[in-house]
């Protein structure tokens, strides 16, 4: 079902947390709300499920206006960060709770619960209390409870934050599988860009109550609209270099290093301060536009190695390379940039 959030405003007391935000979630897609803590992504989620009242704007589930309906009257499924399972009920009763509240017939409840338990792979655990389940199993129960009454939308609030690293990988693909099998529209709230990139069809990246960019993960990674988006996506993160425009080149601050600019950026006019962003995979020994520096940090990551290269003016670039290079800490190196992949930003942070 298509979910439309139109001109949504949320205030807490005198503070406006979210100001006239609009968001269109297409039927059957998984949309990630990504941003640092305090950006308003959870607030948005709670507004969609009705736990928080909206101070302005409209919320449509398909054609139905649910703006002023309490959460009981909206058909939403929510998976909370701490799962919020009912500790006094076993897994079966937890999952059956939304159906029981609707006074559905016993056999019908049982059929639905068993079907959903099979979907999330917890058929054998239904008699256990939440305290007797591992974190991953609790998560599956919470998912089943959210899905069992076939909601219009599934809301996931930091679903992986409480899991250890290995379970996180497993549940990432599990949640995606379940969402795709049920074909439900879903909103995933996360601060982890890897989660957002790997699970979502589209990412809405938020900062200070505003959606900065809304795009598919790949598009967003390649074409970020601001330096905030560029820095938020990618691990290891992008490196920024400050400088000023000189003809068709940029001269880095406090140095005589000059790098070529693309035509669009070169239009800025001489003397304009700009920043360029270089992702680690675009700073490699074999690329053409050479730049010299000293290796100031090496991090072994098994399959890959991560280098920090400090330039003569103190600025730092990052490079990630396949393991096996012969570079040592303190080596003077002259590696190259992939000029066409370099991102340029104006002083306000907007992409040029």
């Amino acid at each position: 079902m298509r979910i439309l959030l139109d001109q949504f405003t949320k205030t807490f007391g005198a503070t406006t947390v979210i100001d006239k935000m609009s968001l269109d979630i297409e039927s059957g897609e998984m949309l990630a709300l990504l941003g640092p803590s305090g950006c308003g992504k959870s607030t948005t989620l709670f507004a969609i499920c009705g736990i928080h009242r909206m101070n302005g704007g409209r919320l449509l589930f398909g054609e139905r206006d649910v703006t002023h309906l309490p959460s009981q009257m909206r058909n939403v499924g929510v998976v909370f960060q701490n799962y919020a399972l009912y500790p006094h009920m076993n897994a079966f009763d937890n999952i059956a709770f939304p159906l029981m509240i609707r006074k559905m017939a016993k056999p019908e409840i049982e059929r639905k619960v068993l079907a959903i338990a099979e979907l999330v792979h917890i058929e054998g655990l239904l008699k256990r209390k939440p305290a007797q389940l591992s974190g991953g199993q609790q998560q599956r129960v919470a998912l089943a409870r959210a899905l069992v009454r076939e909601p219009d939308i599934l809301l996931l609030d930091e679903p992986l934050a409480n899991l250890d690293a290995k379970l996180r990988l497993e549940m990432r693909s599990e949640i995606r599988r379940i969402q795709q099998e049920t074909g439900i529209s879903a909103v995933l709230v996360t601060h982890d860009q890897v989660e957002a990139m790997s699970m979502a069809d589209r990412i809405a990246i938020m900062d200070q109550g505003q959606i900065v960019q809304l795009a598919a993960p790949k598009d967003m990674y390649d074409e970020p609209v601001t330096d905030f988006v560029a820095s938020f996506l990618g691990n290891p993160p992008i490196a920024f270099l400050q400088g000023t425009v000189e003809g068709k080149t940029i001269r880095l601050e406090n140095s005589d290093i000059v790098l070529p600019l693309d035509a669009q950026a070169a239009k800025q006019g001489n003397g304009t301060p700009i920043r360029i962003g270089v992702r680690p995979e675009h700073f490699q020994p074999e690329h053409p536009v050479k730049i010299s520096g000293k290796i100031s940090f090496i991090e072994e990551q098994g399959r890959e190695e991560l280098f920090d290269v400090t330039l003569s003016n103190g600025m730092r670039l990052r490079s990630v390379q396949a393991n096996g290079g012969a570079f040592r800490l303190g080596d003077e190196v002259s590696w190259g940039l992939a000029a066409d992949k370099v991102l340029t930003f104006d002083p306000s942070g907007r992409r040029i």
Binding site: G50, I51, N82, Y86, H88, P98, A131, R145
Partner: protein, 434 residues
């Protein structure tokens, strides 16, 4: 034993001493007293032997031959050396010698008989009054005479010339003893007296009603304040906590002002033509309502605090989850809040049962068991029996037995509650995530 153990024991010692002195010793002493006939009549040290009107009555009740007990009650006059010596001192040697010569060893059933004989003597005193005095000097009676030991008592009885069989003697000694003795009669009394059964019924009624009010009203307050905004909730809780922090005497005094026939209720209701009356003691029902409310408000505040803190421990996301799952307020209370209050409810119930069983302070201050004895619970009945009653006869032994019954019931109830709680399960470790 290692040194560390000794150190631990050393630290524990003060606590052990206190437990012994202030818990074990009183219970043991109560148990000991409960098997005695101690009362304000017998005192708590030893006693003496004495026959009085009361003794004579109970002797007959206990199967002592009536003829013999009547004889014990009569004055006897025996002419012996003791009396003769006294006569010689008071009325001269001549009179004494004459009595010795004429009447030595004789026994008279009444003074009149002796006087008649004395009048026949020549050296008798002239005035009738002196003659009576002289006759009195031969009076040998056990009635209203204290004997410090059993032998002295039996000698004294022997002098009266009453023939006693071994059985009679045992009954007589037992009945005449004024001190306390070992007995199981207290427990027989408890099971046979109608007043103990009434106290038991009152107690059951009181505990049941007050407990329901405590828990029910405590729950009601906790849940309603839970849904209020924080500031308002705090004010309401503070108001409801007042009965507990108020000194009991003051709190009950306010209830008395409220319910007196010149109190608030009467004055207020007189506007509607209701006759002024004492709303607390006017009838049994009034008294019960007052007692349950007075104790109930105090208990409810404790329940409210416990339940409120338990409610606040529920993660907000769980409440949000239940709302998203479609539960309305009532369903949320029924399916989410109440099940999670199970432990505090059980705890409050058991704790209050035990404290209500033994508490009588508010009842003592308000109705003192009245009207009549209709609100006299077991603990108050015990207190009245042993320590404070209108008649002034304080039955320590019976009171101790009554108190011991409460102790036994309390311990039994505690054990039952421990089983019910599955206490071991409650304190067991939560499972660690696999």
């Amino acid at each position: 034993m290692r040194r560390a153990h000794l150190l631990g024991l050393g630290f524990m010692t003060p606590a052990l001493i206190i437990v012994f002195l202030f818990f074990l010793a009183p219970v043991v002493l109560t148990a000991v007293f409960s098997f005695t006939s101690m009362s304000s009549g017998t005192g708590i040290s030893g006693g003496a032997y004495e026959i009085n009107e009361q003794t004579l009555r109970s002797l007959t009740d206990r199967g002592f031959p009536k003829a013999k007990s009547e004889k014990l009650g009569h004055d006897l006059y025996r002419i012996g050396e003791e009396g003769l010596g006294a006569v010689e001192a008071d009325f001269g040697k001549a009179f004494a010698d004459e009595i010795r010569a004429e009447l030595s060893g004789e026994l008279f059933e009444g003074r009149r008989d002796l006087e008649r004989e004395l009048k026949k003597l020549r050296s008798r005193p002239r005035s009738i009054r002196d003659l009576k005095k002289a006759a009195d000097l031969f009076k040998r009676s056990v009635l209203n005479t204290r004997f410090e030991s059993e032998t002295a008592f039996l000698d004294g009885v022997g002098e009266t010339g009453v023939e006693l069989t071994a059985d009679d003697q045992a009954v007589l000694v037992k009945t005449a003893y004024t001190g306390w003795s070992w007995t199981t009669a207290n427990y027989e009394l408890i099971t046979s007296m109608a007043s103990t059964w009434r106290a038991a019924k009152n107690t059951a009624f009181y505990v049941l009603l007050t407990l329901s009010f405590n828990v029910g009203f405590g729950l009601f307050l906790a849940i309603t304040t839970f849904y209020l905004p924080k500031g308002q909730a705090a004010i309401f809780r503070a108001i409801w906590i007042l009965p507990r922090i108020l000194p009991p005497v003051l709190y009950v005094m306010m209830w008395k002002w409220l319910t007196w026939d010149t109190g608030f209720l009467s004055i207020f209701l007189s506007n509607f033509g209701v006759e002024p009356r004492n709303w607390m003691l006017n009838s049994d029902i009034n008294a019960w309502v007052c007692i349950v409310l007075i104790n109930g408000f105090v208990g409810a505040s404790l329940g409210m605090i416990l339940f409120s803190s338990a409610l606040r421990a529920i993660p907000p996301s769980m409440l949000a989850a239940s709302e998203v799952d479609g539960a309305n307020r009532w369903q949320q209370i029924r399916h989410i809040l109440l099940p999670q209050l199970q432990w505090p409810i059980l705890f409050t119930t058991s704790y209050q049962t035990l404290s209500l069983l033994t508490s009588f302070d508010y009842i003592y201050l308000s109705t003192d068991g009245g009207p009549g004895r209709s609100t006299e619970v077991w603990a108050l009945y015990t207190f009245h029996t042993a320590l404070n009653n209108y008649g002034g006869v304080l039955q320590y032994g019976l009171g101790a037995a009554l108190a011991l019954v409460l102790v036994v019931i309390g311990i039994a109830a505690s054990l039952f509650y421990l089983r019910l709680f599955k206490f071991n399960e409650l304190v067991s470790q939560p499972r660690i995530e696999q």
